[in-house]
C-alpha cells in the first residue's frame, strides 16, 4: 500500500513536469496546427539558461537565498526560452505558414537538432550531464502509512503545484481575456479573425511566448528536482509531452494536463506492477498512445468540447 501511494506521488511529480511542457505543444498546435518538435529542446534550453543565471548572473552572496535565487533563475530560464521561441517562430515557422503541413514539421525537427547540438557545443561541460543546484528548501516529508512510509520532497511538491496553478491561470487567460479570445478566434479561422481586427502574427507569437515561458519554468523545476541537466532530456521529455498532448487531445489545455499526469502515472505504476518492471515502462506509455489513436483519434478531450488555445 505504501509502495502504491509512493508510486502515485512519483507519477504525479513526473506528470506535472510533462504537463507543463505539453501545454506548449498543445497551444501551438491549437493555433497553427504545427507540431513543434523543437519544444522539448526549448525546455532543455530553459534548464540550461536557468543554470547559467545561477552560475554567472546571481551574486555569490545570494545563492543560498532560494526566495531570491529561484525566481531569478525561473525568469532567466523563461526569458531565454521565450527569446528563442520568438526567433524560432519568426525565422523557421512563419515563412512556412502557408506551406504544406509536413514542411514546418520537418523544419521543427531541424530546429530541434540545431538547439541540442548548439547547447552541447557551447555550454561549458554540456557534453555530459551538468550538475544543477537544488535552489529550494531542501526538505523531505515522510509519512507513516499502513505498512511503511512514503516520502515526498519539497521540490516535488513545488512541481505539482506549479503545473496545476500554471494550467489554471492559462485556462482562465484563454477563456476570459481579450488576447485569449483573439487566440481562439485565430485558431478557428485566421482570415476571419483578421477581418475582425485581430492581428494573427501577434497572436501566434504570443502563443509561442506563453508555451516557451512554461517550458522554461519546467526547465528550472526539472533542474532542482533531478539536480542535473543534460542536452538529451529535451528529446526524451519532448516525446513524453507530445504523447501527453496527443493523449489529451491536441489543442486542449485540460487534455494536456490530464494527459501529462496520466503518462506520469502510467510510467511509475507500470514500472512497479507490470511484467518487465521499470525497463519496460516506456513501452506501456506508447502502447496507450497507440490505443488512443486507434480508438479515439481526437484524444480524450479532443474536438467536441475542445477549448482551443
Amino acid at each position: 500500500m505504501a509502495t502504491l501511494l509512493q508510486q502515485l506521488i512519483n507519477g504525479l511529480v513526473l506528470g506535472g513536469l510533462i504537463a507543463l511542457i505539453a501545454l506548449g505543444y498543445t497551444m501551438v498546435y491549437g493555433i497553427i496546427q504545427l507540431i513543434n518538435f523543437a519544444h522539448g529542446e526549448v525546455f532543455m534550453v530553459g534548464g540550461f539558461a536557468s543554470l547559467a543565471t545561477y552560475s554567472y548572473v546571481l551574486p555569490d552572496g545570494l545563492k543560498s537565498d532560494w526566495w531570491f535565487a529561484l525566481p531569478l533563475m525561473a525568469i532567466g530560464g523563461a526569458l531565454v526560452a521565450v527569446i528563442l521561441a520568438v526567433i524560432m517562430e519568426r525565422f523557421a515557422y512563419r515563412p512556412l505558414r502557408n506551406a504544406p503541413r509536413l514542411a514546418p514539421l520537418i523544419t521543427a525537427l531541424g530546429v530541434s537538432v540545431i538547439l541540442k547540438e548548439a547547447v552541447r557545443l557551447w555550454y561549458p561541460g554540456a557534453t555530459a550531464p551538468v550538475p544543477f543546484p537544488r535552489v529550494f528548501v531542501n526538505k523531505t516529508f515522510t509519512f507513516e502509512v499502513f505498512d511503511g512510509s512514503i516520502t515526498i520532497g519539497s521540490t516535488a511538491i513545488l512541481m505539482i503545484v506549479v503545473s496545476i496553478v500554471g494550467a489554471i491561470i492559462l485556462q482562465t487567460y484563454i477563456t476570459r481575456s481579450r488576447m485569449g479570445r483573439a487566440m481562439r478566434a485565430t485558431a478557428q479561422d485566421p482570415d476571419t479573425a483578421r477581418l475582425m481586427g485581430v492581428n494573427p502574427n501577434r497572436t501566434i507569437v504570443l502563443t509561442f511566448v506563453i508555451g516557451a515561458a512554461l517550458a522554461g519554468i519546467a526547465g528550472v523545476l526539472y533542474g532542482i528536482q533531478i539536480t542535473n541537466v543534460d542536452t538529451e532530456v529535451g528529446f526524451l521529455y519532448g516525446i513524453f509531452a507530445f504523447t501527453a498532448a496527443v493523449l489529451g487531445g491536441v489543442g486542449s489545455i485540460k487534455g494536456a494536463v490530464i494527459g501529462g499526469f496520466a503518462i506520469g502515472l502510467v510510467k511509475t505504476l507500470s514500472g512497479q506492477y507490470l511484467p518487465g518492471g521499470t525497463q519496460y515502462d516506456l513501452v506501456w506509455i506508447f502502447v496507450i498512445l497507440i490505443a488512443v489513436l486507434v480508438f479515439r483519434p481526437q484524444g480524450l478531450f479532443g474536438e467536441p468540447e475542445r477549448v482551443r488555445a
Binding site: 509502495t3 507540431i35 509536413l102 514539421l105 491536441v250 525497463q279
Partner: protein, 408 residues
Amino acid sequence: MRNQTVKAGVLVAGALLLAACGTNKTESGAGGGNQSCDQSKGTLVIGVIAPQSGGLSALGLGIKNSAQLAADQANEKCAVKGYKLAVQTEDDQATAQVGAQAATRLSSNANVVGVVGTLNSSVAQSVQPILKGKNIVQISPANTNPSLTRGKDYGTAPKRDFETYFRVCATDDLQGPFAAKYLVGKAGKKSIAIITDGKTYGEGLAAEFKKQAEKDGAKIVASAKVGEKDTDFAGVIATIKGSNPDAIYYGGEYPQAGPLSKQAKDAGLAVPVMGGDGIYDQKFIDLGGKEGDLATSVGAPTDTLPSAKAFIDAYKAKGFKDDFSAYGAFSYDATNAIIGSLAKAIEGGDWSDSKRADLIKNVQSYSAQGATGEIKFDEYGDSTNKLLTVYKVSGGKWVADETGTFGG
C-alpha cells in the same frame, strides 16, 4: 487534416526514437612531431574508439588524451623507425552501432596499425569482428566483460574468438566477486538490492556480483532495471524501497548512478550505492554520489603506483583540458604495447598488411612495466595484472580503501 498531421507527428516521433543514436563525429588528433627523427616513410595511425561526447565522455577523453600522450612520446623518442605516429580518434558515443561505423572507418585505412578502445563492453562486441576481419590488433583499456576474451561460456569452457583482441584491465568475473566480498564481508551488508542498466557491462558485472554475494550469505532482496537515458529514478527507487535493502549494487555507469544515489537518499533510502569501474569517476560525485558510496575499479590506484608517476607528470605537463580519469593510465599502457610491438614488427622493414600478423604475435608476447603495473597478456588476451581496488566517497572525493586480488 488535423488527424493526419497528428499521425505524421506520431510517425516522426517514432522514427526519432529509433534514430536517437544518430550521427557520428570525428576528431583527429595531430601527432606531435620531432623533426630530428627519420619519418621519411610516412605516417602510421593508431586508432582510438571511445566516447568523446555524451554522458561517458569524461572517461573517453581521458582515454584519447593518454593515447595521444603515448604516441607523442614515441615520436619524440623515434620509437618506430622511419615513421611518424598519429592518433585518430573516433567517437563511438558509447553506442554499439556507432562504434561499428567507427571501426569500419578505421579499418578501411591501410595505415591504421592498431586500435585502442573501446570503453564499453557492449561497443567492443560490435567492434571486435570488424577489426578481426582486417587483422587489426585491438587493445582495450577498459572492457571488463569476461566473454570478450573467453567467449560466452567463459566460466566453464573458455574459448578465444578474437585473437586480435587484448585488454589491459581485469575482468568483471573478478571485479563483481571482489565487490561482493567487500560489501558483504567487510561492510556487513546482508540485504542488497541490485539495479542494472541492462547493457552488456552492467548486466555481466551485476550477475557476477550476485553469485558471490549469495555465496557469502547475503540476500538479494530486489532487482530492477533502469533505462540508459533515464534521469528520473523515483519509480525504480520506490519499487526496491519496500524490501528495505541496506545497500544498492548498481551495474552500470556514472551518468545514471550519480543521480540514482542522490534520488535514493531524497526518497528516504539513504543506503550506500556500490558499483564497478563504470561509476568510478569524479562525475559520479558531481552528479549526486554521496558520502559512503563505493566503487571497485581495475588496477591499483593510479596515483599510488610508483610506475604511474611518470605518466601522471607527463600528462599534466601536456596541459590536456580533461582529466586522465579512470582509464587514462590503462590507455597509455595499451598504446605503448601497440607501439612497442609495432616497432619490433617492422624493424628494418616497411609497414604493410603482411606485418599485421607479426604485430599481433608481438602484442601476445609483449611484456613491459607500464603505468598500471606489469603489462602482459595471457593465452586469451586478458591482462595478467588482476589487481582491483575498492574506492569510497569521502570528503567529496574517491578515496582508495582496499587494493587486492580476488582469490575465490
